[in-house]
């Protein structure tokens, strides 16, 4: 086997949480508000694609405990078509990671380091992630485990001091225009929930596999709750203004003022953002490297980490010419593509596997 490291099921749960939450925390309130208005905090509850993805991953895992979905695609698709499909997946994951790197750098540049070239910020992040990924699966898992408590502490540190400033009346009317707006708002969120598919790439290396089901559903639930809380806090503070800011959650940190000397805390959010983005990029980077190595049937993935890092950096520059295009892409085409690649095709795969197995029996 290409990867010799092993992680525990609880580490997998932490990896998933840290791989999904950071970027969604930043942008979802603004995008969801566009459709859901004051119901935006209910949108994360419609995590349909999350449930479907977790179901698919677990079903496939039960049938092939030592392979990830792309290996199974190659197995089902035979030689040539299988290679083509898995090649497409390889590029798509690389593209998604490019989007993530770009999101990370766009935020840093637009809110903090205005004159620093974006390549430098992306480049440094990719370099650090490359070092972590070269260390292997266990390193990535430990980073997630190490940073999660810091992440959650800072997240609460961002929300609790602001409670006094929240206006609960912003919450109403709940379901003022029926249930539809909150479901429409949930559409974009499916991008993040469909990312649960990465569990499939880590499950074969989980030592205590009987805990897999528990840990997956727990982290999905934790993600839903976190998003709901962050959307709620943003709504209660900003009300109708939520949709006007590019990064509403950042405003929370900026608005904190405890007895006039604990204020100007946006650097607090910056820590959350850099830590979170680091783990998120690492996880996707690792998946890319793993898939690429398996695709090329290498015996070791370490030699291709840096070359793929260079490609990742290029992709992050290629995905969009400016922030507006990036945001529009995330709210539209990227969401559709991710639902197709991470939910619909794996669902079809599950059906095919199921039929093939039936025929064999």
């Amino acid at each position: 086997m290409i990867e010799k490291g092993r992680i525990s099921a609880s580490q997998l749960g932490k990896i998933l949480y840290m791989a999904i939450i950071p970027t969604s925390l930043l942008t979802t309130p603004a995008i969801t508000f566009k459709y859901a208005k004051q119901d935006l905090w209910l949108s994360p509850i419609w995590a349909i694609s999350g449930f479907i993805t977790v179901f698919i991953v677990l079903r496939i895992y039960r049938m092939y405990p030592s392979e990830n979905i792309i290996q199974i695609m190659e197995r089902i698709g035979r030689r040539i078509p299988g290679k083509i499909i898995s090649g497409i997946y390889l590029l798509f994951i690389l593209y998604v990671n490019g989007v993530i790197v770009r999101e990370y750098s766009e935020f840093v540049v637009s809110s903090f380091l205005h004159t620093t070239p974006i390549v430098v910020i992306s480049g440094l992040m990719v370099l650090v992630c490359a070092m972590a990924v070269r260390g292997g699966l266990e390193i990535v898992g430990r980073f997630a485990e190490l940073f999660l408590p810091i992440f959650i502490t800072l997240f609460l540190f961002n929300i609790i001091p602001i409670i006094a400033d929240l206006q609960w009346s912003n919450l109403f009317p709940i379901f003022g225009e029926g249930i539809r707006p909150s479901i429409e708002g949930a559409f974009v969120l499916q991008t993040w929930f469909s990312e649960m598919i990465i569990a499939s790439f880590f499950l074969p290396f989980v030592a205590d596999h009987h805990n897999a089901k528990k840990t997956l559903s727990r982290s999905l639930l934790a993600i839903m709750v976190t998003l709901s809380v962050s959307n709620l806090a943003t709504l209660l503070l900003l009300g109708e203004l939520t949709g006007n800011y590019s990064y509403p959650f950042l405003i929370l940190a900026r608005y904190i003022n405890i007895s006039n000397f604990i204020n100007h805390l946006e650097s607090l959010y910056m820590i959350i953002w850099v830590l979170g983005a680091f783990v998120k990029i690492c996880v996707f980077y690792y998946v890319t490297v793993l898939v690429a190595a398996q695709w090329m049937k290498l015996s070791n993935y370490q030699p291709i980490v840096y070359p793929l890092g260079l490609l990742l950096l290029l992709f992050s520059q290629w995905v969009a010419p400016n922030t507006q295009v990036l945001t529009e892409a995330i709210a539209g085409p990227v969401t559709l593509a991710m639902i197709t690649m991470f939910v619909i095709i794996p669902a079809l795969l599950l059906c095919i596997v199921w039929i093939v197995n039936r025929l064999h029996n």
């Binding site: 620093t116 009346s169 009317p173 003022g176 203004l241 006007n244 900026r254 608005y255 003022n257």
Partner: protein, 392 residues
């Protein structure tokens, strides 16, 4: 030995990291910054926007007393500069040309609009402030009677900067305390009306001793100044908007001479909308807790019967104040500064949607019921007045 070497290597690596933390492109040195503590926006006679800023002197050199430089004037520890432009961004870039340091907006805690500018509309100038990544959402907003520049040029009263003086005044909440975020929320709310505290200048013979303070408030409709209201009406507005935190209320009881003053301990206002057919009604339910701080009447305040009467009188006084504010808002300005529109939307989203175009008509005829519930908790340090032994 090997272990030690490893540790010292790691420490060295960590320490060298701190050298990189300053950044390369975005490195900012405090002595390269011109920290803006206060901004004033005015409209000149040529219809140009005049931007005035109060910049804190961060250099070690102390200014000479009363010296005037050509570009601006010195007051204590700050420098006042002003430029004009068509837009705020243009004025800012012109201002930058006059400065040896880079403007920094992160500590701009006070934004003042001149009365004349407010009449023309402030909405478009807020755009720059919201888009700029450095400005604070918590900055306090004011409208000055007269020009904003004048307020900036005054010397501080107690604190180091005028901005600190104003900030502390706003925090005491004897007048309104409106931040940039709250102003924006009011302006984009369903009622599109906002209220901002006003600044007036207490003029003294010596210019150095004049100081600004918060007095009354200004009502904005769709971002334009609709009118000014005095301090006591502002108090009514604050009761209705649930923004009153502290303050002193003085009443003169009906059946005795003299005055009784109360100190407000806490107060909360509930806004309850109600629609039945064509009847639109708002009930304002006010709960307040007060202490007695002065009594010059013949009433013996250690008697609980008197306290009950006083509670009634206090309630009447609150109602009077709120009704005064309501009259101004409904009849004179037709501006829904209490955000009643949003209250209706929150409870009756569908009915609101059908009637949102008629809101200004509905608002003028809106039936507002004020229910006050005042509690006097304790009579203060003395029961019977020491100076008036004949109290009953």
């Amino acid at each position: 030995m090997n272990y030690r070497r490893k540790i010292s290597f790691i420490l060295l690596a960590l320490m060298s990291c701190s050298l990189l933390l300053t950044g390369c492109w975005d490195q900012v040195e405090v002595n390269d910054l011109a920290v803006v503590t206060m901004t004033g926006l005015d409209l000149t006679d040529e219809n140009q926007l005049e931007l005035s800023v109060n910049i804190a002197r961060t250099s070690s050199q102390q200014p000479q007393e009363n010296s005037d430089s050509s570009s601006g004037q010195l007051t204590g520890k700050s420098v006042i500069l002003s430029t004009t432009g068509n837009t705020l961004a243009e004025a800012v870039s012109k201002l930058q040309q006059q400065l040896s340091r880079q403007l920094f907006w992160g500590h701009n805690e006070i934004i003042i609009f001149g009365e004349k500018l407010a009449k023309e509309g402030i909405a478009e100038h807020l755009e720059f402030l919201l888009r700029h990544p450095e400005t604070r959402e918590r900055a306090n907003m004011f409208i000055s009677i007269g020009s904003a520049k004048e307020v900036l040029s005054l010397a501080p009263q107690i604190e180091h900067y005028v901005a600190d003086d104003l900030l502390e005044m706003a925090k005491l909440q004897t007048g309104l305390n409106i931040t940039l975020k709250e102003l924006m929320q009011m302006m984009i709310s369903k009622s599109q009306a906002a209220v901002i505290p006003c600044l007036i200048i207490e003029t003294k013979q010596d210019h150095q001793q004049s100081y600004p303070f918060i007095h009354g408030s200004a009502i904005l409709k769709k971002g334009k100044l609709a009118g000014l209201v005095d301090s006591s009406t502002t108090r009514g507005i604050m009761w209705a908007r649930n923004e009153l935190d502290r303050g002193t209320v003085t009443i003169s009881p009906e059946n005795s001479e003299g005055y009784i003053s109360f100190q407000l301990l806490s107060s909360s206002t509930e806004v309850i909308p109600y629609i039945h057919g064509d009847l639109w009604r708002i009930t304002l339910r006010i709960h307040t807790l007060d202490d007695i701080i002065e009594n010059t009447t013949d009433l013996d305040l250690s008697v609980s019967k008197h306290i009950e009467e006083l509670e009634m009188e206090l309630e009447d006084d609150i109602k009077r104040r709120i009704n005064k504010a309501l009259t101004v808002a409904q009849e004179q300005m037709n501006a829904d500064i209490f955000q009643f529109a949003d209250a209706f939307y929150r409870k009756y989203p569908n009915i609101w949607k059908q009637n949102k175009d008629r809101w200004s008509d509905i608002f003028t005829k809106l039936d507002v019921v004020v229910e006050a519930d005042a509690k006097i908790s304790r009579p203060g340090g003395t029961g019977k007045s020491i100076l008036k032994p004949n109290q009953e």
